[in-house]
């Protein structure tokens, strides 16, 4: 009987440690935004360079679809998941399922609000990045004037971090007045629509802070349509290719450069190290966001430094 019990234990251990196929799954919140396309493709390219097969899954900002992806992945012998979560709370259960199935998850850019479940989370330091943008915003606005804010997806941690970082600075200047704040879901078209309606209600603004570059580009289009693109300063966040080009052309005033290449490549490298036996990973790693303005834009290109 003792022998039988020991046999059962040792069989379980062997099962848990069974080497999986060299296949990595890359699950991203959306492929409807070039920034996330770049993140997914960079992760896939790095994994391939390390000798893995890859497959990219698009969650379309829908946690139910994300759950379906995880269920398919967990029965398809993938050895790791490089993951850009759709929802900081809503995605926790999916990561937990993967952990229970012995598949490590490496979060990229966006976090899940949990400890001890993801193997590592490589995250953009959006709060500190927004602090830098806000300091420049205050300087460019000469510490006074009306402005509006376009928020990302409500409930997303990046939306909160970017807005909170921005306000931790700007709210110290009483002559800078936020006259409207609305979500445009990180989407360019919605950014334009929201900006158009904001301009009708508040034609006297001189600044716009947007939670990402897609919304900033949409807001800029709306300002061009209203003939206000020369008087209203637009600030974005991401470091997308069109935003960098727009800063060079004096259309956008500034953005925060995130480094999706660093995050995606590090996630793939970590997954490879895990496959080869490493288990002690730093659980959360912030990646700094840098301020890009007309002064230093020549040092940058879309999604990174030259």
């Amino acid at each position: 009987m003792i022998g039988a019990s020991l046999f059962i234990f040792s069989s379980c251990n062997n099962g848990a440690e069974k080497k999986k196929a060299k296949k990595m799954a890359i699950v991203v919140s959306t492929l409807n935004n070039p920034w996330f396309v770049f993140l997914a493709e960079t992760a896939a390219a790095k994994a391939k360079a390390l000798g893995y097969e890859t497959k990219i899954f698009d969650s379309q900002n829908n946690t139910a679809l994300e759950t379906d992806h995880f269920e398919n992945i967990l029965v398809s012998d993938f050895c790791a998941i490089l993951f850009n979560p759709t929802d900081a709370d809503g995605s926790i259960a999916n990561v937990k399922k993967a952990k229970d199935a012995g598949v490590p998850v490496f979060c990229m850019d966006r976090e899940i609000n949990a400890k001890g479940i993801a193997t590592s989370q490589i995250l953009s330091d959006g709060y500190s990045g927004s602090v830098e943008i806000a300091k420049y915003f205050v300087e460019q606005m000469n510490k006074k004037g009306n402005y509006v804010e376009l928020l990302g997806i409500t409930g997303d941690n990046n939306t909160r971090a970017r807005s909170a970082g921005f306000h931790s600075v700007v709210d110290n200047y009483p002559d800078l007045k936020m006259v409207a704040q609305q979500s445009a879901d990180f989407d360019r078209n919605k950014g334009m629509e929201v900006m158009e309606s904001m301009l009708q209600a508040h034609p006297d603004i001189s600044g716009v802070f947007c939670g990402n570059d897609a919304m900033a580009m949409g807001a800029y289009q709306a300002l061009v349509g209203a003939g206000k693109d020369k008087t209203v300063k637009v600030f974005g966040f991401d470091g997308a290719e069109d935003a960098i080009k727009s800063i060079k052309e004096n259309k956008l005033t500034a953005t925060g450069m995130q480094f999706p290449k660093i995050m995606a490549e590090k996630a793939a490298e970590f997954a490879d190290q895990y496959y080869n036996g490493k288990r002690d990973f730093q659980e959360k790693i912030p990646v700094a966001v840098e301020l890009v303005t007309a002064k230093n834009v020549d040092n940058y290109m879309g999604y990174g430094k030259k």
């Binding site: 900081a88 995250l123 971090a161 909170a164 600075v169 959360k284 790693i285 912030p286 700094a288």
Partner: protein, 211 residues
């Protein structure tokens, strides 16, 4: 009958084996030497920041290296090695922070800055920020607070904001009212180091008037 006893003995051994280590007792004070993280203690960022400032950061301030010693080591052993020894950065970043102790005479004081003449330094004067400060100099200067200590990064960021508020209320505002030109001061500051250069913001975290 013998077989029956044997069965019970085997059953007890298996039960003991299975139960071993699944229940154990630990002294309640066993964790006193470990760092209490915000998550473990379930503290709000405001409470965590105050507790860190009162219990941990104050000790780090007292053991900050003096500018003279730092400069000596910097030029004898090399800049990069010395910065890596004393400064701390979080994750992937070109920015690091460290604590340094300056001694000198006040040349100028305004709403936003103190200019200190430091006799024992290769740089003659240093400008300390006593206006608005929005960096992570207090949170990151000791390297003791990590992002991974927090369930979500918002709390980690709010801790930084709260620590900056404590510096303003406990150090900067009381100091501003007392300091005069020609006062002899000892200032411990959080120094921002960007790309290996020590020319970033200097935020005083302790000011002592030595007159």
């Amino acid at each position: 009958m013998k077989k029956g006893w044997l069965k019970y003995i085997v059953f007890i051994i298996v039960a003991v084996l299975l139960a071993y280590n699944s229940v154990y007792f630990k002294k309640l004070d066993a964790k006193t030497n470990t760092t209490i993280t915000a998550t473990e203690a379930n503290l709000s960022p405001v409470t965590f920041a105050r507790s860190f400032w009162d219990n941990t950061f104050s000790k780090a301030i007292d053991s900050a290296i003096t500018l003279e010693s730092f400069e000596k080591e910097f030029f004898e052993k090399g800049g990069q090695v010395t910065i890596e020894k004393y400064a701390h950065s979080q994750g992937v970043s070109d920015v690091a922070y460290m604590l340094l102790k300056y001694r000198g005479k006040v040349k100028e004081i305004t709403e936003d800055k103190i200019v200190l003449i430091v006799a024992d330094s290769r740089t003659n004067s240093y400008v300390f920020n006593i206006g608005n400060y929005f960096g992570n100099g207090v949170r990151d200067a000791t390297g003791l607070i990590k992002m991974g200590d927090f369930v979500n990064t918002m709390d980690y960021n709010l801790v930084s904001t709260e620590l900056n508020k404590i510096v303003k209320t406990d150090v900067i505002l009381p100091g501003k009212n007392k300091i005069k030109i020609n006062d002899n001061l000892t200032i411990v500051a959080s120094v921002e180091i960007k790309n290996g250069r020590l020319d970033g913001d200097l935020l005083p975290v302790k000011i002592t008037i030595n007159n």
